[in-house]
Symmetry: C2
Subunit: 301 residues, 2 copies
């Protein structure tokens, strides 16, 4: 596997959004700045969402305007609607992410409207963002399993991915939101995306609920996906997906890629330092295995 791979560090957004301990904007800014020093090229820094629905993201403007924008790093923000887009643009955001999910019920729980209305809403955001010269990434959640509707038809996932790309998203991050998928299902979905000619514009976004996040990433990697979302220390979870665990831990992916001899920009030791900062702020042990093992190594000398 002499190849290169890109990570999108989503810890400051997907990782933190469900943490009940409310962190100060200053802490989040220090976290994003530490991640910038890791060597990441892409960091999802915050979300311009309803503070009532996601209190942890109420300080999105402060965070986005407070971080040190390091050259070579793209800082993105999740945006649910045109109001969020305006706030993001005011804060100087250069890339936004819009989101939807394959299932009607999941969309309703997450955004208050069903699948088609969710698409209508995000289409308006995408069009406006592109007019304003802002890059747009699409998130498609529940690509294979929905907590409410069960198994998802992969042809629906492929069709919705195509629609997001057609709208103008430069990339679609495929969210295996529940972490229920197994490698065989990922292989099959990737084959469908390849047949549709769109696999090269997809990123993988895996959660580790059943311990299969890394195995699923390896399957997606074998199929040709080269961009993966991950969060510092395995931060994360989803309030609309009961029992779903955090994102795949950035350190575990960095360790894997490094040991497999793949080119990847972020440096593992610096990542561990950035993660230690946020773990200390949250005052709870993060689940990432490599992060724990390296912390333990350090402790032992």
């Amino acid at each position: 596997m002499s190849d290169s791979v890109e990570l999108v560090e989503v810890g400051p957004r997907d990782g933190l959004q469900n943490e009940s301990v409310l962190l100060s904007a200053e802490t989040k800014i220090r976290f994003v700045n530490a991640l910038s020093r890791v060597g990441h090229t892409r960091i999802e820094a915050t979300a311009f969402v309803s503070p009532a629905r996601v209190p942890q993201m109420a300080d999105a403007f402060e965070v986005m305007t407070g971080i040190h924008r390091r050259e070579g790093v793209r800082y993105s923000a999740l945006v649910p609607n045109e109001k969020g887009l305006e706030r993001a643009l005011d804060a100087g955001t250069e890339e936004i992410a819009v989101f939807t999910a394959t299932s009607d019920t999941f969309n309703r729980k997450n955004t208050g409207v069903g699948l088609e209305d969710s698409f209508k809403r995000l289409a308006g955001v995408v069009t406006e963002a592109l007019t304003r010269k802002v890059l747009v990434r699409g998130y498609l959640s529940t690509i294979l399993h929905c907590p409410y509707e069960g198994r998802i038809d992969p042809t629906l996932t492929v069709r919705l991915t195509e629609r997001l790309l057609d709208l103008g998203c430069y990339e679609v991050s495929l969210g295996e939101t529940l972490g229920r998928a197994v490698p065989g299902q990922i292989r099959s979905l990737c084959a469908d995306l390849t047949s549709a000619g769109i696999l090269g514009r997809c990123a993988g976004h895996f959660h580790d609920t059943y311990g299969l996040g890394i195995a699923n990433i390896l399957e997606a990697l074998n199929a040709g996906i080269r961009t993966f979302d991950a969060s510092a220390g395995g931060l994360g979870g989803c309030p609309y997906a009961p029992g779903a665990a955090g994102n795949v831990a950035t350190e575990d992916l960095l360790y894997l890629f490094q040991e497999e001899g793949m080119a990847v920009a972020p440096e593992l030791a610096r990542q561990v330092a950035a993660t230690a900062l946020i773990e200390s702020a949250l005052a709870r042990p993060l689940p990432g295995k490599t992060y724990r093992a390296m912390g333990c190594d350090e402790g032992d000398g």
Copy 2:
């Protein structure tokens, strides 16, 4: 992957041996009996080792004679020397496991003697055990990485595996003791074992230190290995391998195999119940992801 796979539940031995909370023999007997009800065909129940070195295993005789021997289940015990073998035989043990490691230093730390002396010692045990009509399994630790000697030459691992088989072990469990290996290294080692014509007599024993246990198992599975060691809830760790985490969790493997449509005897829901028993006795949360997710599902109704 319409195929069958066999698990060896090593929680009562490899899982518990380093737990500092000393459990009663009665608790261990209840744990093994619960594992028997899961549908396991092979359970490593205890170790007839020095009580001074491994206090948790001081009650090996009580455990081995106290468990309910369910039909269709083979109960094995780790045995380091002829004294241990005699105690195991007195307790009616039908299968023993002998162990060594690829590295001189690791052997010295673990058993007090180097590699060749370790082989001499275990050869005596194997010969005697076979004479007494007891099945013998071999463990080979540090197959790719040693905490003291670093990377291990895979040709050494292959040669030592052959020697264990030649001595009369019916199977060698390949211990990736540190959990440092990545799938590419497993693929390469399995290819060497296949060339040597002995892969079919090997089992995989993976630890999850860097979160790669399942990914490594999938690689070994693809290469043709069909027997894997795992421990309830991901119990385990190794005192002679600083920072090494527990075994791959039995529940994660059962979830994976079940969802991939492979035939495997143990039932996931019953496994979760058995693991809950030992978690409660240890009074610490176990790391297994599927175990946690299923516990969470149950909690939420």
